[in-house]
Amino acid sequence: MLIDTVLFYIFAALVLGGGILTITRRNAVHSAMWLIVSLLGVAGLYLQQQAEFLFAVQIVLYVGGIMVLFLFVIMLVNLDQAARERQFNRHWFVALVAVAAVGAEIGYFIYRGRTGFHIAELGAPIAAPHALGNTEMLADTLFSEYLLPFEIASLLLLVAVVGAVVMAKKRIQ
């Protein structure tokens, strides 16, 4: 039990530390690196909540796919000059107030809401016939109940592929 708490603190520190550094570093490459740290922290929290499949997907897809794409683009654009420019919005004060309000509000509601939770008691882990692992259960649900979203996601990916090509290919004509 104690070890769970300790792990939670470690992962939470990774998530928040990574997040804060992502949005404050001047250099975009550093931001991306800290974002990866934050994403790994989130992956750890998935593992703690028995989402083994998502833990793997988070690392393979997010860190290995999306973040590498980010790093490629950062390398393609010349950001030396950008790093020297002013990094923050002129209206930072207004934005700070707005963000503080959002954060405080959500935090407050969740704090209040914890007693009013519909199904608040923490019972056994995801009730499952122990024969089935997380990935198998996911697959069962995905290919029965969520078959349509799964199929339609292919259209989404097609749109993304076509879109990226339209944007990046040489000249229209």
Binding site: V42, Y46, Q49, V73, N89, F117, A124, A160, A164, A168
Partner: protein, 103 residues
């Protein structure tokens, strides 16, 4: 295997992470960093989904997270292509300088 960590800690963490993303989106001027802030927000949402899923003892939340990741990947591909085009045309990625549309 039961986690001793109260569920709402996870939710608080997710809320704070979401707020961090919003902050980054509003504060930062570098377009790529702004986009990274959106990724932070999506991760906060995913963390909430997984937490609720754990609490409700369903796997549905995991699936939503999965779909959000798919969409995030699609958005990243398209978004970075758009960002590259903007950079090619203007040689800057400062959001304040991308403001030619006016009355």
């Amino acid at each position: 295997m039961m986690s001793a960590v109260p569920v709402y800690w996870f939710l608080m963490l997710s809320a704070v992470l979401f707020a961090l993303g919003v902050a980054g989106f509003l504060f930062r001027r570098n377009i790529i960093t702004v986009f990274m802030s959106i990724e932070l927000m999506l991760n906060a949402v995913n963390l909430s989904f997984v937490t609720f899923s754990y609490q409700l003892k369903q796997v549905n939340g995991h699936l939503f997270t999965f779909f959000v990741m798919v969409v995030a990947a699609a958005e990243a591909a398209v978004g970075l292509a758009i960002i590259l085009t903007v950079f090619k045309n203007r040689s800057t990625l400062n959001i304040d300088e991308v403001n030619s549309l006016k009355n």
